[in-house]
């Protein structure tokens, strides 16, 4: 049997009444890598992930895990671990009992429950009611549930939402270790920076449609490319840049935005002995990348 991609989405469409949440979306997630699933809020990420996990029924098309619909997986928890967005639990059930219920239903030994609790550093609070957990603790409990079956694939929907910086770092370290162990990670976010330090590849959607799927480096190269420079002789620099064939515009008093790397701008300025007060790469926001990508798509 040929190797199936861990996740494959083909022509996926989901309509809620007259609203189209996901529109003929196709992509696949490669094995053994971290793939970021990006898009602004409301782009259809959650609906797509929930369709992958068999929680949402597609209007058309399909989503497959290991080559088959999630609903046909025999022991899904041993294959896929899912961390849902704003995951919810019964407030009066303890974290440990929550996991015991899942383990029992999935035929996973209860000893594994204590293992995953230790793994997410939640052992001390395990017997307390989830109602008293902080957001970070809930997120860890959610991760613990995803790890119960020792899956090779993790699907996480906006896992960093609402986490404090410490929680975000914990999650990032954890996912790095999981990925280093050969696991596949599919993680959604509306903030590029969140996944930029993790992802090998990104899938970007907007209005429920695929914008692009490409390696992160390509995306970063696309997003960057701009440099902001401040110099007392900004107008002279503008002329020199034009001579060098570099596009630049004056954006303020003594400030230029240049379509080149900071290195290139620095070289031009140095050659002419121009003093620079500021020279920095302009990090495009994800929104700007979207704008760029979506306008390219419609051109």
């Amino acid at each position: 049997m040929p190797e199936q991609p861990p996740i494959e989405v083909r022509g996926l469409t989901k309509r809620y009444g007259s609203t189209v949440a996901v529109d003929d979306l196709s992509f696949s997630v490669p094995a053994g890598r971290v793939t970021g699933f990006l898009g602004p809020n409301g782009a259809g990420k959650t609906t797509t992930l929930r369709a992958v996990l068999g929680l949402v029924r597609p209007t058309a098309g399909e989503a497959r895990v290991d080559g088959r619909p999630y609903r046909q997986l025999r022991e899904p928890l041993r294959r896929v671990g899912a961390v849902l967005e704003a995951d919810s639990f019964h407030p009066t059930r303890s974290g440990r009992n929550h996991l015991r219920v899942l383990a029992l239903a999935a035929a996973i030994p209860v000893s594994r429950v204590d293992e995953v609790l230790a793994e997410v550093e939640l052992s001390d609070a395990a017997r307390r009611k989830v109602g008293g957990y902080s957001l970070g603790m809930r997120q860890r409990l959610s991760v613990a549930g995803a790890l119960l079956g020792q899956p090779e694939l993790l699907v996480l929907d906006e896992p960093a939402n609402g986490l404090d910086p410490e929680g975000i770092r914990w999650l990032r370290d954890f996912l790095r270790a999981f990925s280093a162990g050969g696991g596949t990670v599919f993680i959604s976010s509306h903030v590029l920076a969140e996944v930029a330090q993790l992802a090998d590849e990104v899938v970007i959607i907007h209005h429920g449609r695929l914008v692009t799927q490409e390696p992160l480096e390509t995306l970063i190269a696309r997003a960057a490319g701009g440099t902001v420079v401040r110099a007392p002789e900004a107008e002279r620099l503008l002329g020199l840049l034009a001579e060098a064939g570099i596009e630049a515009t004056q954006v303020g008093e003594g400030e230029l935005r240049v379509a080149a790397t900071p290195e290139r701008v620095g070289e031009v300025a140095a050659a002419a002995g121009i003093v620079l007060h500021e020279l920095r790469a302009e990090g495009a926001t994800l929104e700007e990348v979207f704008l760029a990508l979506t306008s390219e798509g419609s051109a």
Binding site: P76, D87, F89, H90, L104
Partner: protein, 243 residues
């Protein structure tokens, strides 16, 4: 499937649900049983049919079982745990099947608890009034079994209702309004016997007969039919739901 049923029972056992509903049964039974016995003469109390009708107050266990069923299914949507349930068991018919079986067991347990409570309170009162105790005889056995069956049926119907409504408070309120207002209104037309609450009451009233209710066997058949309809409707709703 046994595994899934055990998981469903574990869910029920690991929240405060049974604690609160247990206290509710305790309070209601103590109040109703005590008031009835206190206001009945010693002579009347010594008859087996009077004692049977006292222990039949345990049928409130069936109403509590209905609430257990509603909370068991609607509560999963209310708290969002239904997603976890479907991630573990993506074949939803199996989830519903396990819930129905676990619900029936839980409904019987609730009814059994109500029986023990009612029986114990009655025993203490009758002893105090020096009335010969007749509730430990085989003739009352069918009443006990009927109430257990009513608990199971009510829980199954509750699971169906909960799956259809998915909002537990609304579902519980609607169900209680139906029992307190809807069915009495039906009695104006004289068809209340065939309503779900009355059919279950007929099951719970095994061993005694009243003109208001169907007999035990017809009542059981009608109640089973309702349980089947609610279970199937609930299963279809669950299968179609996006969570």
């Amino acid at each position: 499937m046994i595994r899934l049923v055990r998981a469903e029972l574990l869910k029920l056992a690991t929240t405060r649900l049974f604690l609160w509903l247990g206290l509710m049964i305790l309070g209601l039974s103590a109040f109703v049983t005590s008031t009835r016995i206190a206001s009945t003469s010693q002579l009347q109390l010594s008859g087996v049919s009077e004692q049977r009708s006292i222990v039949q107050f345990a049928a409130i266990g069936a109403i509590v079982a209905l609430i257990v069923g509603i909370v068991d299914s609607a509560g999963e949507y209310a708290h969002g745990t239904i997603a976890h349930t479907f991630l573990v068991t993506p074949v939803r018919e199996r989830v519903v099947g396990a819930k129905l079986i676990a619900g029936a067991i839980a409904g019987m347990l609730v009814a059994a608890f109500a029986e023990v409570v009612t029986w114990s309170i009655a025993a203490v009162w009758l002893e105090g009034k020096s009335v010969p105790f007749q509730l430990a005889t085989r003739t009352v056995l069918d009443t006990y079994l009927g109430i257990l069956g009513a608990g199971a049926l009510a829980a199954v119907i509750g699971i169906g209702i909960g799956a259809l409504f998915r909002r537990q408070t609304a579902a519980i309120v609607l169900a209680l309004i139906w029992l307190l207002v809807g069915e009495p209104v039906l009695s104006i037309a004289g068809v209340q016997q065939y309503a779900p609450g009355h059919a279950i009451a007929a099951v719970a009233s095994a061993g005694s007969s009243t003109s208001e209710l169907l007999g035990f066997w017809p009542g059981l058949l009608v109640a089973l039919a309702y349980a089947a309809v609610f279970a199937v409707a609930g299963a279809v709703a669950v299968d179609r739901s996006d969570v």
